[in-house]
Structure formats: structure tokens, C-alpha cells
Amino acid sequence: MPLSTNRALWSIMTIDQVTAPAESSDYVGARVRKHNGAAYLTGRVTYSADISLPNMAHAAIVRSPLAHARIVKIDTTVALAQPSVLAVLSGADAAKTSGPIPYLLDPAGLGGHSADVRCLAVDKVTYVGQPVVAVVASTPADAAAAARLIEVDYDELTPIFDAEAAMAEDAPLIYPDWHTNVMFAGTFGDDTFEETARSAPHLLHGELRIQRTTPSPMETRTYLADWNERAQQLNWYGTTQNPHPQRWVLATALGLTERQIHVVAPSAGGAFGLKMHGHPEEVLVSVLSQIVQRPVKWVESRSECLLAGGREQVHRFAVAYGDDGRVHALRDQMIADHGAVAAGAGWGMSFVAANSFPSGYDIQQCRVEYSIVVTNKPPSVGMKPFGKDAPVLVLERVMDLVAEATGLDPGVVRARNWIREDQFPYTTSAGLVIDSGNYHGLLTQALDRFGYQRRRDEQQVARSEGRCIGIGLGFEMLPEIADIPGSFVTAYDSATVRVDPSGQVTALTGVTSPGGGNDTAIAQIVADRIGVAPSDVAVVQGDTALCPYGTGNLSSRGIVVGGGAAALAADDVALKLRTIAAAMLEADLARVELRDGFARITTDHERAIPLAAVAHGAYTLGYILAAEMDAPLESTRVYKMPNVQQVPDAKGRLSTYTTFSNALHVCVVDVDTETGRVDILDHFCVHDCGTMINPLFVEGQLQGGVVMGIGAALSEEIRYDDRGAIRTDAFKRYLMPRAIDIPHLRIGHQVTRSPFSSLGAKGAGESGFAAAQASIVNAVNDALRPFKVGLNVLPLTPPRVLAAIREATRTAGAVG
């Protein structure tokens, strides 16, 4: 291959003058399978619990058996005398070397209240399951056995388990210096409901009680800390969705600098919000490792994992509407039971719930009054879709109640209230600026493909035969890719793309994958630009020493900002490769493309150089081939969503979300009036998350979300006994859907590109849950219409359904 010595070419052509190649679509948009699937299928993927370090010790945690109590005395003598035990740590001990765990977002900074959260309780416990004492031993079994030998004396205080009771004047205070149990309260929207309601033709009121559920990824939380005293360095491995922010958490709580800490997040076995930062055990294992001077590992048990929960809220709503089904005004009073305080994301979920009213409906007179209340339950944790499910559920019930009252079809009522396509960008009553959407398009496709009218006809026939068939619609609008001022929840992220001298391509990202396909999708984005196959791209995530700074995964951000950054970095590297190749081929840069592992002339594919040769040239022949261009073949870029509005508008509102995915679900259920059992006969959804990098992965997110939503609608519920101890401490009692409970799920797509994100994508990571839950709740209520009962306490378990039917039958009998 002749080498160009034409210096003139390089003096006239600077990088700025070159237009990046048009987006290739060979892999982007294709249903590419997981690029690293073989490693999964042969058991070679490393999860946190799979890591063993030499001389590793194991931690077990003694948790509070009481919901609210003072710690009087801790006796560790017997445990410490066990031969395998290396250390026993109390909260008072831990406080000597570690401080409070910093909040993901401190409610006190926003006008609410917060309290010190420690890795082990100091003085007082506020929920059953709170870490009180930690034991380190040589094996997990020895640590667990020694933990049982620790005696803690408590002085019991009055606990409170009900958020509304906790708001009463004379309620016992969990954090007395607050002088209230309300952690955070506020309003969204103008206080105009009463005024609008006076002139509206009709009014209706309703209530919804949403139960506490739990994320429960199949992999529980696991942390392994390895403190190196000599180097004063902490290597920390664990189940974290946000490795870089996690490093800040550890540094802050431990009094170390961030550069003393290396955080590694191995492959994740699901997260769903649970593995955002702020859990006490993250810091605890680090303190323990510093004490015993050995690596210390803690693997959460399933019963510990089931302590985590969230979503528990009561909503009381009032709706003013017209005969045409148009909602004139809506007021929702929301009380969220947060449980005890925590440093994690949980409370923010309730805030987001209030902020996301009134979903995708054009209701400017929407008033939300919310209170986030502490009780003596375990703290709320982050859970997808991070609170956005609550307004969806309320609004979808409202639309059905209005339909029922007006005699209109539920689809018609929705169509009359949705934000129309020509109204975008649309500012909601709460201040969110919704980018784009075509909600009416969802309805057209859904009703047509579902065979809606035929299903309604069949329902009539079934009813006449005494069968209880119901049809339910559920529409979700999910604000995504958040940027919350003062937190590490950001609408930007970074990526490095690197081609080494032998031509191998690596992408290192600040985003992480909780287990879905964002790593493969990023490989697709990079592969198209460098002209290789996705399987030729190594994607490195979750390592603070290797990857550029990033927020990791939350708020469906992986592709929009992680993929966006990787696209920019890959474009930079591709331009360098093409520049070198152009010199090698003595061709005009504009005529050089990267394809199939070669740099080649667009009009003459025979004139081609293997990527490896181009890469080698870039590193070794730079002065000859492209003196103006610097090796290495590497670029680190940031992609930042342009439409975050963090300066309050005239009404004091922020717009902290940047993309808005949406979907319409429709399902059919069969309610057995003898047993109360609900069978889902069919479930169909049309989904719009903008441009799809890989429809296979979008559908995967959706299918998982739908099934989680079905669980929340019908069976999943965290329950406690009357002293606040969890009763649903195993999968025998906490009922997640199994394959046999689920029908075949059908999916349709609609693509309305985001006008703001570079890839046109809107995020799919939280899709499915909210609309599935709402559609099933609506369908069950639709099925029970002949009984004139409304079910508004979730989940709709057989006993609840049966009790409602019996009550209705009894009342009807009494009247008749």
C-alpha cells in the first residue's frame, strides 16, 4: 500500500472542515442479539457475589426486631469469644470512624426534613430490620451463627405504622426535633379547583390506596470492600447502579478522598431502582474492612431484600367534568407513607409522583397537594418507574370513572383529554415541558390491532352468559432522563471510544447496565460509526478507574445520554481513522468510508485497507500520514440534553425531565366470581419511546415492566404484622408473577422522535409497569360493573375481589 507524502492535503484539510458521515443504519435499529450473550449462557459473567478475594471475611448483620425503640445495651461478649469471629461492631463503634451517609437528595435542602442516617443505628431504631450490630467472621455461616449470640436490650417506644395517623396532632414523633412526622409537603398547580368546580356541569370524587411493593431483582444487594491500609486505598465491589456517585457517598461517609476509592460495579442481576446509592451496608462493609484489615463481603439474604419497598400512597381526588367527557379541573390529595428516613432515592419518588400529574392529559386546572410522611416501616427505596406510576393510575381511573358517568367509551374520553400532537412542546400544570408525542396515534393502533369493538361485543355476550369479562385501557406518560439540581441525577453522561493499535474497538461509558441491553445497544451505535460488527466492540462499564465520569443507570438514561455520548466519541475516532485512511489511499477524505472492518473508497470497494492497518498507521506513522492529527485513536465526549430548565419560571416551576415516553395498553380479564381470581386473557400495548436503537431490547424492557405491573395490580404486597415486622419475607408470601400467571404479551410500536435527544430516543427503561397496572385495575372494575362495585384498594387479590362482590351482592339483596 503506497503511503501518501502529500503534505498539502493535510495543510488544507482541518478536522473542522469535514462533515461527519451520515448516520449509518446497519446495526442501529436492528434486532441485534446481546453482543456478549455467550458469556452469559456459559456461566462466565461475573456478578458481585461471584467475586472472592484472598483472605476474604464475611459480614452478618443483627437487625432490629422492634419498630421504634431506644438501644439500651449491646452485649457482644459471647459472640466475640467465638474462634472464627474477627470483629463485632455497634453503631457507637462505627460512628468513631464514619459519619452520616450523604443523601442522594437531601429533603432538608428543599424545605423538608432529614435526619442522620448511619451504617448502624446509634441510640435509636426506627424500623424492624434496621442494622444495629455487625459481625465479621471467616465464613458466612460463622458470621450468621455469631450474630445470633449478640444480645441487644431495647427500651420500646410507641411505633406508628399508618401515614395518616402519623399526621395527627398527637401522633408520636419519630424524629422529635422535626416537631412533625411530615418529611416533605407541597403543592403543584394553581389552587383553582373549587372555583372551576362551581361552574362545571359535573363533579366526582374518588380514592385510591396503593400498596407497598418491592423491586426484588433476582440478584440481591452485595458489597465487598477491600481496604488496603498500606496504600490507604479502598477497593469496593458491589451492586450499585451509580458507581461514580457511589464513590462520593463512600468518601463522604468514611472521611476519605474520592481518589482513595475505586468502585467497581460488576454485571448486575437486575436493579429496578433498588441499587441506587444510600444503603447503610455500602458504608458498613467498608468500615468493617478497615477494622479487620481484610476484604469483607456481605451478601443480602432474600428476606433482607424484601424489607425494601415503596409506592405506598393514598390518593383522594376530585374531578370536574362536562357531558362531553372533558375534564375541566382535577385535584389530588396524596399522602405517601415513606417509612423511616433513608439516604437513598425513595422519598424523591413520591415527589416525582406529585410532579408528574396530570400524566399526558391537557388539564391545566390540576392541583396536587402532597405530603410525604415518615412511619416506623423500613425506608422507601427507588423503584421503577420512580413514582410516575401513581399519577398514571389516578388519571386512568379518573378517565374510566368519567366514561362511566357520561356513558362515553373510555377511549373517547381519553382522546378528548389528551394533549394533542399540535400542542407540543406542552407545559403541564406542574411545569414539566413535554417534548413531543402522538397519543391519539397510540389509540388508533391499539384499538385496531386489539380488535376493540369486537372485544366489546364479545364482552356483552359473555355477560349475558353470566361470565365476568372486563376490558381495560391504560395510558402511561413517563417523564425520563431527569436532571435534579443538587443531586447526581443528571441529564448528561460521558463516553470514551478507543481504537487500539491492533484495531480493536473499546467503548467505556459513564452509564451502566442493570441487566438490559444498553451495553449491546451502545456497541451497535459505535459499530455503525467505526464500520465493525457490534460483537467487535468491547463495552466497559461500571469501573471508576477505567470509565469516564458518569451517573450510571436511572431514569431510562442509558441510551439517550450514554449512547449519545458514545456516538459523539465514535464520530471523532471515525474521523481520525478516515483521515489516516485517506492519506494511505491517497484519496479525498469525503470519499473514504469505514465498513465491514475496512476503510475503503465509497465508489471503489476494492480500494480498501483493513482497520487494523489504519489503526497501526495512526499510532506509528502519524508524522507522515496526518501531522495535524494526534494519536491515540481515542475520544471522550459528553452528551448533555439541551432542554433542562432549572431556573424557576414565573410560577416557580422547574422542568427537570427531558424526554417523555408513552404507551397505551389494553387488556381483557376474566374474573371468577366464585373464587375472586383474576385471569388476564389478553394484553396488548402500543409503545412510543422515540427512536429505537434495538427493538428487541425495548420490547424486553416493556415485557418485564408489564409483568411487574401485573404483579402490582394483582398479587404483590408487602405486609407487616401489628408490631411492624414483615410478614412477606419470602417469595412464598410475596407473590411475584410466575410464567403460568401471564398471558402472551403483544406489542406494537409507534416512533415519535424526541426533537431534543441526538439519537431521537426517549428511554424505555421504565416502560410498561404503570400502564399495565392501570389497565388491569380498570379491566377488573369494568368486569365487576354489573355488581356496581368499585375496587380501589390494591392489589386486587382474590380475597379483596371476593369480598367486594359479596358485599355488593349482600347490599343489593338488602335493597331488593
Binding site: 450473550g37 462466565r44 459473567v45 442493570p514 424486553g700 415485557q703 418485564g704 403460568i740
Partner: protein
């Protein structure tokens, strides 16, 4: 407190292996910690989630429900032993092409449940498939693609 170690000898993925194990250990734990086959996953340790499902003497079992000591002399296959001479099996291939796993934590157990069904029911329909994997929980996929993958293997079998 430290328990006396016991010697456990098994055939693991075709090879004779032995290791010292704590007699309190579950088979799942012993396989992971003493034999290094971390492809076996523990999701609950109460027999509810199925992530630890493996084959013992040709039958599938939830390895968190057995004490390691009870498996002495057993012939055990884990996910590490499913591919033959570096070639993924048909079931593994189908799980990959159908996107039947996301985070992969339930994958090992699902593969064994699927393999067991396919070996005993060549005419399994979707209901049979769903029943066969109902001892295994998955939080990512909604089961849809797992059912498709198993159906694909069954349909490809000579009848």
C-alpha cells in the same frame, strides 16, 4: 463454632472433583464457593426462585434445597457444562437469539428447567412450557421470550 470440614466427591460437568466443604453448606453454596462454579446462582435459598436449578444424576433440582454433604458421589451438571466442546447447545442458542435473558441471573436455572421439559415432552405446548418454568422466577423478561425460546427448540425437534 467452626464446623468440621467434610470431603465431598462429585462428578462435576463430566470431571471427577473433590473439595472440603462445611457440612452446614447448601449444595448451591458448596458448588459456588468450594468448586468455583459460580454460574450456579442463589436468589432466595428457600427453594422459591429456581435460580439455583441444576441437574443432579439426570434430574433437575433446586440446589439450595440440598445439603452439600448429601450430594456425595453425585453426577452434577451446571451451566458451565451445558456447552459441548465450545459449542452452545440448541437451547442455549435459542435463549440467545430470542433474547430470553436480560440480566442473566435466572438464566442458569431457566436453562435447566427448559432442558428438562424438552427431554421429557417433545410435544409441549405453551401451557406446558409455562408450567415447566413456573418454579423459576424472572424479574426482567416477563417470561415471554423464554417461552418463545423453548418453543423454538421444541418445534425444531424431529417428531
Amino acid at each position: 463454632m467452626t464446623a468440621q470440614q467434610a470431603k465431598l466427591t462429585i462428578i462435576l460437568n463430566g470431571a471427577h472433583r473433590s473439595a472440603e466443604v462445611d457440612p452446614r453448606m447448601l449444595l448451591a453454596e458448596a458448588l459456588r464457593e468450594s468448586f468455583g462454579v459460580t454460574g450456579v446462582k442463589t436468589g432466595c435459598a428457600t427453594g422459591d426462585c429456581g435460580a439455583c436449578t441444576i441437574a443432579v444424576d439426570g434430574s433437575i433440582v433446586k440446589s439450595c434445597l440440598l445439603l452439600a454433604a448429601g450430594a456425595d458421589g453425585a453426577d452434577i451438571t451446571t451451566i458451565e457444562g451445558l456447552a459441548q466442546a465450545g459449542e452452545l447447545s440448541e437451547i442455549q442458542q435459542a435463549f440467545w437469539s430470542e433474547y430470553a435473558f436480560q440480566c442473566g441471573f435466572c438464566l442458569s436455572g431457566m436453562l435447566f428447567a427448559a432442558r428438562d421439559l424438552i427431554s421429557r415432552n417433545v410435544a409441549a405446548g405453551d401451557e406446558d412450557i409455562r408450567k415447566a418454568i413456573s418454579g423459576n422466577l424472572c424479574r426482567c423478561t416477563g417470561y415471554e421470550n423464554i417461552v418463545s425460546a423453548i418453543r423454538k427448540v421444541i418445534e425444531a425437534q424431529p417428531s
